[in-house]
């Protein structure tokens, strides 16, 4: 039953052992946040049976914007918030993913 779940084409899931990376394309940051929260909750729900959960303190969020985007100069704290397991994930200008 789990295999039947598919995300739309504008999403990507990649895992590397215990690191899960979700990429989300959307037309606004608020929408991206909502969709990412939904996807995270779906993962958490399915992981319940295995006693697995995420460590929200280690979660990282990155918005990929064009170099000339007007949003580049906006403070990251002004973006809508993304919450995972009652923890607010603060977006960053750069993240460390798989050691890179």
């Amino acid at each position: 039953m789990l295999e039947k779940h598919h995300y739309p084409t504008d999403t990507t899931n990649t895992s590397y052992v215990d690191v899960v990376c979700m990429a989300q394309m959307s037309h606004s940051i608020a929408e991206a946040n909502t969709l990412l929260e939904d996807r995270t909750n779906q993962h958490l729900h399915r992981g319940l049976h295995l006693g697995l959960t995420f460590a929200p303190s280690k979660s990282e969020l990155l918005y990929c914007l064009r170099v000339n985007s007007k949003h580049k100069n906006i403070s990251l704290s002004s973006h809508p918030t993304l919450r995972v397991m009652n923890t607010t994930i603060i977006p960053k200008h750069q993240i460390k993913y798989l050691g890179v």
Binding site: M1, S15, V17, H49, C64
Partner: protein
């Protein structure tokens, strides 16, 4: 034995108490905790390999021996990979017989489940007064590690066929690497933001969210792992062998120029491919 003195850990100053702090923090005992049974048919399989078996051949042992990482620690019995290599060259029938018997009888000898654990401070920590500021290194018997690598290869081969590893899982896959994982994640993003903005579709706003699974190596309950492997219809002998592998493991800490007696621990020292394949397959949370 590590020569640097370890400062008081979690307020504990004597060696035994420090060992207990380290054991609780680094190898929590999930085995005794209550757990939820997996619902029937929670997972499915593309192929039923439950009854399949394959003999351990001389060639497979040789292949495993040639891919070992030479120069690593020899474990409690002082037998190195080089010794095993020479043994296999001079008497190629011994190791396949031994390993085949272990698989047939689903046994992993207790001597191979013992590890002497040293702890190494993780760099860049503000305080070294907490057990989590240290990384455990547990050299084990080279015999056991060779055996594990043979099983890991079998799991690597069987898991995708049983739908037990998701295509998005890049770790410990023979044809995937970190670079593949990065490309898979960032190529669609680069494509999206390089597209021209149109009146109909505004500028795309790709976002990337990364999560770490909490304490993943310690959180796998051996019974859950067994259930997952059964529901995925992985070969029965592998499922049973991994169950034997997971139980009655012992570890002895050595630091501050002292060493303790072996005590039971959870199987946190599982080799990554073996662990990953069985576990991530389970997983649901990763797919």
């Amino acid at each position: 034995m590590h020569h640097c003195l370890i400062p008081p850990l979690e307020g504990q100053t004597n060696f035994k108490a420090k060992c207990a702090s380290l054991r609780n923090a680094l190898f929590p005992t999930v085995n005794n905790l209550p757990r939820q049974l997996l619902p029937p048919n929670f997972l499915t399989s593309k192929l039923d390999m439950y009854q399949q078996t394959y003999p351990v051949t001389t060639g497979k042992v040789f292949l495993a021996i040639t891919h070992l990482k030479y120069g690593t620690s020899v474990g409690p019995y002082g037998i190195s990979y080089t010794t095993l290599h020479h043994l296999h060259e001079s008497a190629p029938e011994i190791l396949p017989l031994l390993f085949e018997a272990c698989l047939v009888h689903t046994a992993h000898p207790p001597e191979w489940k013992v590890a002497n654990c040293v702890i190494i401070p993780k760099p860049g920590k503000l305080s070294y007064a907490h057990a989590k500021s240290y990384r455990p290194i547990s050299p084990q018997s080279c015999f056991g590690k060779l055996r594990e690598s043979i099983v890991a290869r079998r799991l690597t081969s069987a898991a995708p066929r049983c739908c037990a590893t998701h295509p998005s899982q890049m770790g410990a896959q023979p044809e995937n690497s970190v670079v593949d994982a990065l490309l898979r994640t960032f190529t669609p993003i680069a494509t999206a933001i390089s597209k021209k903005k149109t009146a109909k579709n505004g500028a795309p706003r790709p976002a990337v969210l990364t999560h770490d699974i909490e304490g993943v190596f310690n959180q796998v309950h051996p019974s859950t792992l067994q259930e997952v492997m059964q529901q995925r219809c992985l070969p029965m002998y592998l499922t049973k062998w991994i169950s034997a592998f997971n139980t009655d493991r012992k570890i002895a800490f050595g630091f501050d120029q002292q060493s303790e007696d072996c005590s039971p621990t959870s199987a946190a020292s599982l080799k990554v491919p073996l662990f990953h394949l069985s576990f991530s397959s389970s997983s649901v949370i990763l797919c």
